[in-house]
C-alpha cells in the first residue's frame, strides 16, 4: 500500500489525483469545471466508426447539487477529488451552527446547519430524538454535512 504518493498528512497533501478517463466509474467522483462532482452519467461516443473513444461525463457538485458536464478523450487524465466522510454526534444547535462530537470525544463548532431540507430535518429532529448523527463530507478543502442518521 505504500506504493502511491497519496500522503494524507496535513501539509502538502494533494487534494486530487489523476485517473484515466476511461477508468472512471458511474457513482464515482471527478472534478468538473473545478468542482468536485459525483458522476451521475457516463457514456462514450466516437467520431466515425474508426474513431477513438470520447467520454461524456455528467456530474453533480457534491456540495451544491449543481450539474456539470464535460467531454474528454478517453486517454486523457481527469482529476479525482479525495473524498473523506466522518460521522459526528450532534450535541447542540445554536445560531445556525452545529456542535459536533466525534467518537474520540473531540468537538467542533465550526460547521453550519445546511440551508436545505436536510438542515431542516436535523433541526426539527434534534429535540425529539435521543441520538442524532450526521455525516460530514470533506473534499478539496471544503466541508459540509450531507447526511443524518437517527433512530426514532
Amino acid at each position: 500500500m505504500g506504493d502511491d504518493s497519496f500522503d494524507i498528512a496535513d501539509s502538502g497533501a494533494s487534494l486530487t489525483y489523476p485517473m484515466q478517463c476511461s477508468a472512471l466509474r458511474k457513482n464515482g467522483h471527478v472534478m468538473l469545471k473545478g468542482r468536485p462532482c459525483k458522476i451521475v452519467d457516463m457514456s462514450t461516443s466516437k467520431t466515425g466508426k474508426h474513431g477513438h473513444a470520447k467520454v461524456h461525463l455528467v456530474g453533480v457538485d457534491i456540495f451544491t447539487q449543481k450539474k456539470y458536464e464535460d467531454i474528454c478523450p478517453s486517454t486523457h487524465n481527469m482529476e479525482v477529488p479525495h473524498i473523506k466522510r466522518k460521522d459526528y454526534q450532534v450535541s447542540d444547535i445554536s445560531d445556525g451552527y452545529l456542535s459536533l462530537m466525534d467518537d474520540a470525544a473531540a468537538t467542533r463548532e465550526d460547521l453550519k446547519l445546511p440551508e436545505n431540507d436536510l438542515g431542516k430535518e436535523i433541526d426539527s429532529q434534534f429535540e425529539k430524538v435521543d441520538n442524532i448523527m450526521v455525516t460530514v463530507l470533506e473534499a478539496i478543502g471544503e466541508e459540509q454535512v450531507v447526511a443524518v442518521k437517527y433512530t426514532k
Partner: protein, 862 residues
C-alpha cells in the same frame, strides 16, 4: 392496388395443407405460381415500394413449400427461378447499400434484402434434396455482390451514391449503437453460409482481399509516419485513405468470421462441414511445411514466401487475420496508436475468439473426417497450437496495455483471454507460457498499466486468471500459482483490515482504493466458478465474506462501497448457490443473514442530501433483492450432489444441525426491503421487476410462510400483489396472478376460514373476476387469470356465486342478461362443484376460452 396485389400474392405463395389433394397438385400449383412470378418480375421495373412485397412472396414460397415439391419442378423452371432470385438479391443488395449512404429513414430495400438472404439460408441449409452443387454459382454471385457493396471503390462500391460520388460523413456514434457484428448478424449468417457453399471461390477471395488491404494499411501507416515526422501539423493529415482501408478490413474480417465458424450459445462449436470438406478436398495439393511457415510468420507478406500457392486456404485466411493483427501491434509499438482503428482492433479480437473456440485444439473424435492440414496446424499436441496460443496471449497482453482507454476493445480482449482458459486443453498450454505468469504477477501487484483498465474489464481479467489456475500443473507449480494470484489479495486485505487504527484510516484514498480493488476482484473470482472448482473457490470466498460484513460498518456512510460489498454477496450467490450442498449452502445463508442484519441496522432512518439519494436507495435495494432472488433460485436449479463435492473437506458437521434456511434469510430480507419500497421507487423499471419477481417467487416457493408473516408485512405484500395485478405491466400482472394459486391452495390445505390470508384471497377473487369479465386481455393473461380464478373459486364458492348474481342482476338489457347467464352456466358446467382437481381445472380453462370468446369485451368499459 400494387400493395394489395402483392399481399394477395404473398398469401397465395404460402398455400399449404389439405387444400392440395396430392403432391402433383401441389407441384403444378407451384409451377404455375413460379411462372407467373418470373414473368411479372422480368416484365417490370420494380418500384421501391414493391421490393418488400416481392421478397415476401419469394420468402413464403421457399419456406412453405416442402423441399421435395421444389425439386419436383421442371428443371428449367427451377433454374430460371434460382437465377431470378440471384439477380434480385444482388440488385436489392446494391439498392440497400445506397439507402445506407443516403441514410434513409425507411430502408425498404434493406428489409427486402434481409428477407431474400433469409430465404437463401433456408434453401442452402437443406442441400440433400437439391441437385448437388446447384447453388454454387448463385452463391458466388450473391457473395461477390455483398463484398462489393461493402468495400470501397475502386474494387467495390461502398459509399458511392448514384452519380459515383463518394460520401465521407463523420458522424458521432454512441456506445449504445450496436456493433455491425450484432446489427447485421442475420445477413452475415446467410452470407457466411453462402461462402461455405462456394468455398472454392469465396475463401481464397477473402484471403486475397484481406492480404491486399493489410499490405496497403502497412504502407499507408508508414507514409503517414514519415509525413508526421516531417510536418509539424498532425491535423493536416487526411485520414480518409486509412479509414477506407479500416472499413474494408472490418467487413472482410466479419464475413471471414461468419464463413469459418459459428457461435452457438452454450455448445462447443464444430468446424462447419463445408469448410472441413473444402480443406480435405484440396489437401493433396497442400504443402504442410509451407502452410505452417505462412501461419508462423505474421510479420511477413504471405506472397513473399516461396510455395505460398500451395498452402491450405483455411489456414491462410486465418493467417491473413494474424497479419492484420501484427500490423496493428507493430504500429502501436511505433507509437502510431492514434492512427489505428479501435473498431478494427475489436474485429480482430472477435474473430480470433470465434475462431479459437472452434479450431484451436479441435477434438478429432467429434468429426467423421478430419483435414490433415488443420489437425497438423491446430490439433492437440501440435507445435502449431502451442505457437498460436503463445501468439494470442502476447496480443492480449499487448492490447490490455495499449488499449486500456478503449473499453469495448479491452472487453473483447479479455473475453478472448477467457476463451483461452475456460477449456482445460487450452488452459494447459496457456499456463506453460511465461507471459501468462508475468500477467498474473502484474495484475496481482496492481501495477501499471493494468490498473488503468475499467472495473468491469479488471473483473473479467481476474476471472480469467482464476480459470487459468485450474489448468493441469504439477503440485509445486499449482501452489506457486495460487501464491502469485490469490494469496497476495488475501494477505494485503487482511494486513489492512487487521490494523488497529483501520477505522481511522479507512477514509484515506489509498485505503479505499485497496478495498474497492479487492471487492472487485472477489466479484471476478466468483465469476470464475465452474462445477469442478466450486469447492476451492467457495472456501476462499467465504473467508472474505465474513470480513466484508465488518466493512459494512466501517463504510456505512459511503454508499458506493456498501453497494459493492453487497454486490460481492450477489455474485457469490449467483454463481455458486446451485452447486453447493446442504452444509455449504447454510454457511452462505448465515453470512447473508448477517449482512442483512447489519444493513438493516445501518438503515433505520437516513436522509441524504444528494440529488442522487433516491438512486442510491434504489441501487442497494436492487442489489439486496437480486441477492434474495439468487438464494431462492436454488429451488429451481440445484446441481449439488448432497455434499459429495465437499465430502473430503467437510467432516463432523451434522447436517441435522440446521440453523438457517433459505426461507429464513429471504423472509428476513423481505422484511427489510418491503417497508423501504415506496411508490416512487417502483417507478424504476428494473427495481420494480426485481421486486415483483422476488415476492411472487416467495409466494410460489414458501406459501406456508406467508400466513406466518408479521401483520404489517403481510398487508404490504397483499397490497403489492394487488397493485401488481391492476396497475403494472402485463409481465408483472401475470407474475402476480401466478402467485395467487399457491396462496389459495395453501388456504385450502389448512381448511382455514377466517385467517387474514383467507380474507385476502376472497378479495383477490373479486379482482380477478373483474379482470376477466370487465376487461379485455391477451391470451397469456387470460390463461394466467383463469388459473388463478379457478383455484380462488374452489376456495370461495359462495362468494363466486354472489359475484355472478350481482353482475347479472345489474344488467338492464335482457339480451345481454341472457347471454351472460348462459355463458356463466356453461363456464362452470364441467366443474361443479369445483375441486382442486387437475382434470377439472383443465376443463374449466377450456370453457373459459369459450366464455371469453363469447362474452369477453361485452361489458368492457369504453
Amino acid at each position: 392496388m400494387a400493395q394489395d396485389s402483392l399481399q394477395c400474392l404473398a398469401q397465395l405463395a404460402s398455400m399449404h395443407g389439405p387444400v392440395f389433394p396430392d403432391e402433383s397438385a401441389q407441384v403444378s400449383y407451384l409451377a404455375h405460381l413460379v411462372e407467373g412470378l418470373l414473368s411479372m418480375i422480368n416484365g417490370i421495373e420494380i418500384e421501391d415500394s414493391e421490393a418488400v412485397g416481392i421478397s415476401n412472396i419469394i420468402s413464403n414460397l421457399i419456406t412453405m413449400f416442402p423441399r421435395s415439391i421444389l425439386t419436383a419442378l421442371p428443371s428449367e423452371l427451377f433454374t430460371s427461378f434460382i437465377n431470378c432470385l440471384t439477380l434480385l438479391t444482388c440488385s436489392f443488395g446494391r439498392s440497400a447499400a445506397l439507402e445506407e449512404v443516403l441514410d434513409k429513414d425507411d430502408m425498404v430495400y434493406m428489409e427486402a434484402y434481409d428477407k431474400l438472404l433469409e430465404s437463401w439460408l433456408t434453401l442452402v441449409q437443406d442441400d440433400e434434396h437439391f441437385p448437388r452443387g446447384c447453388f454454387v454459382q448463385p452463391a458466388v454471385q450473391v457473395f461477390n455482390s455483398y463484398i462489393q457493396c461493402h468495400i470501397a471503390a475502386p474494387d467495390g462500391t461502398r459509399n458511392l451514391s448514384v452519380n459515383g460520388i463518394s460520401s465521407h460523413e463523420e458522424e458521432e456514434i454512441n456506445e449504445l449503437q450496436e456493433d455491425d457484428r450484432e446489427l447485421f448478424s442475420d445477413q452475415l449468417s446467410s452470407i457466411g453460409m453462402l461462402g461455405r457453399v462456394a468455398a472454392d471461390h469465396c475463401i481464397p477471395l477473402l484471403t486475397s482481399l484481406l492480404e491486399d488491404r493489410v499490405t496497403r494499411v502497412h504502407g499507408q501507416l508508414q507514409r503517414t509516419q514519415q509525413h508526421l515526422m516531417a510536418s509539424s501539423d498532425p491535423g493536416s493529415m487526411d485520414r480518409k485513405v486509412l479509414d477506407d482501408l479500416y472499413e474494408d478490413i472490418h467487413w472482410l474480417i466479419l464475413v471471414s468470421g461468419y464463413v469459418l465458424a459459428d457461435d452457438p450459445q452454450g455448445e462447443t462449436p464444430l468446424i462447419p462441414s463445408e469448410v472441413m470438406e473444402f480443406s480435405i478436398k484440396h489437401s493433396t495439393e497442400v504443402d504442410i511445411n509451407t502452410t505452417l511457415q505462412i501461419l508462423g510468420s505474421p510479420g511477413e507478406k504471405a506472397s513473399s514466401i516461396p510455395g505460398c500457392n500451395r498452402t491450405d486456404s483455411v489456414i491462410r485466411l486465418l493467417s491473413a487475420v494474424l497479419r492484420t493483427s501484427e500490423v496493428e501491434s507493430r504500429a502501436s509499438r511505433a507509437s502510431l496508436t492514434d492512427l489505428l482503428s479501435p473498431q478494427m482492433g475489436k474485429d480482430i479480437m472477435w474473430f480470433l475468439r470465434r475462431w479459437a473456440k472452434t479450431y484451436l485444439l479441435m477434438d478429432e473424435k467429434l468429426y467423421e473426417q478430419i483435414s490433415i492440414p488443420l489437425s497438423t496446424a491446430f490439433g492437440a499436441d501440435t507445435e502449431g497450437a502451442q505457437w498460436i496460443v503463445g501468439y494470442l496471449l502476447e496480443k492480449v497482453i499487448s492490447n490490455l496495455s495499449v488499449w486500456s482507454s478503449e473499453v469495448e476493445l479491452s472487453n473483447d480482449t479479455v473475453e478472448l483471454l477467457v476463451t483461452l482458459v475456460e477449456k482445460r486443453e487450452r488452459a494447459n498450454i496457456v499456463v506453460q507460457c511465461e507471459s501468462w505468469w508475468n500477467l498474473a504477477k502484474q495484475f496481482a501487484s496492481r501495477s501499471p498499466p493494468l490498473h488503468l483498465l475499467s472495473s468491469p474489464v479488471q473483473r473479467t481479467l481476474m476471472k480469467a486468471l482464476v480459470l487459468g489456475g485450474f489448468a493441469h500443473m504439477d503440485s509445486d507449480a499449482k501452489q506457486q500459482y495460487w501464491a502469485e494470484v490469490l494469496h497476495p489479495l488475501q494477505q494485503r486485505f487482511l494486513n489492512l483490515i487487521n490494523q488497529e487504527n483501520f477505522a481511522q484510516i479507512s477514509q484515506q484514498e489509498a485505503v479505499k482504493q485497496e478495498i474497492v480493488a479487492t471487492l472487485e476482484a472477489l466479484c471476478g473470482i466468483a465469476e470464475a466458478t465452474q462445477i469442478d472448482n466450486v469447492a476451492s473457490l467457495f472456501s476462499f470466498l467465504m473467508d472474505f465474506l465474513s470480513s466484508c460484513i465488518g466493512l459494512m460498518e466501517v463504510y456505512s456512510n459511503t454508499p458506493e462501497t456498501v453497494n459493492l460489498i453487497i454486490e460481492v454477496f450477489v455474485e457469490v450467490a449467483h454463481k455458486q448457490i446451485c452447486y453447493l450442498g446442504e452444509t455449504k449452502s447454510m454457511k452462505l445463508y448465515e453470512a447473508c443473514l448477517t449482512l442483512l442484519q447489519v444493513y438493516s441496522k445501518n438503515n433505520q432512518c437516513r436522509k441524504r442530501n444528494d440529488a442522487s439519494a433516491e438512486e442510491d436507495q434504489y441501487q442497494d435495494l436492487l442489489l439486496i433483492m437480486e441477492l434474495l432472488t439468487n438464494l431462492l433460485s436454488k429451488e429451481f436449479i440445484d446441481f449439488s450432489d448432497t455434499d459429495e463435492v465437499f465430502r473430503n473437506q467437510d467432516q463432523g458437521t451434522p447436517a441435522t444441525n440446521r440453523t438457517v434456511s433459505a426461507a429464513d434469510v429471504v423472509l428476513y430480507g423481505v422484511n427489510i426491503v418491503l417497508p423501504l419500497m415506496s411508490q416512487d421507487l417502483l417507478k424504476f423499471p428494473s427495481l420494480c421487476n426485481q421486486y415483483y419477481k422476488l415476492i411472487t417467487f416467495i409466494c410460489e416457493i414458501f406459501p406456508e410462510k406467508i400466513p406466518q408473516l408479521p401483520e404489517e408485512l403481510f398487508k404490504s405484500l397483499m397490497f403489492s400483489l394487488e397493485l401488481g395485478m391492476t396497475s403494472m405491466s402485463s409481465e408483472i400482472s401475470q407474475l402476480c396472478l401466478e402467485a395467487l394459486s399457491p396462496l389459495a391452495e395453501q388456504c385450502a390445505k389448512n381448511q382455514e376460514k377466517d385467517t387474514p390470508l383467507f380474507v385476502a384471497t376472497r378479495h383477490f377473487l373479486k379482482l380477478v373476476f373483474d379482470m376477466l369479465v370487465l376487461q379485455k386481455h391477451n391470451t397469456e393473461m387470460t390463461v394466467a387469470a383463469g388459473e388463478a380464478l379457478y383455484t380462488l373459486v374452489c376456495l370461495h364458492q359462495a362468494e363466486y356465486s354472489e359475484l355472478v348474481e350481482t353482475l347479472l342482476s345489474s344488467q338492464r338489457d335482457a339480451v345481454i342478461y341472457q347471454r351472460l347467464a348462459d355463458a356463466f352456466n356453461k363456464l362452470t358446467a364441467s366443474s361443479t362443484p369445483p375441486t382442486m382437481d387437475r382434470k377439472q381445472k383443465v376443463a374449466f380453462l377450456k370453457s373459459l376460452e369459450e366464455f371469453v370468446a363469447n362474452v369477453g369485451g361485452l361489458l368492457c368499459v369504453k
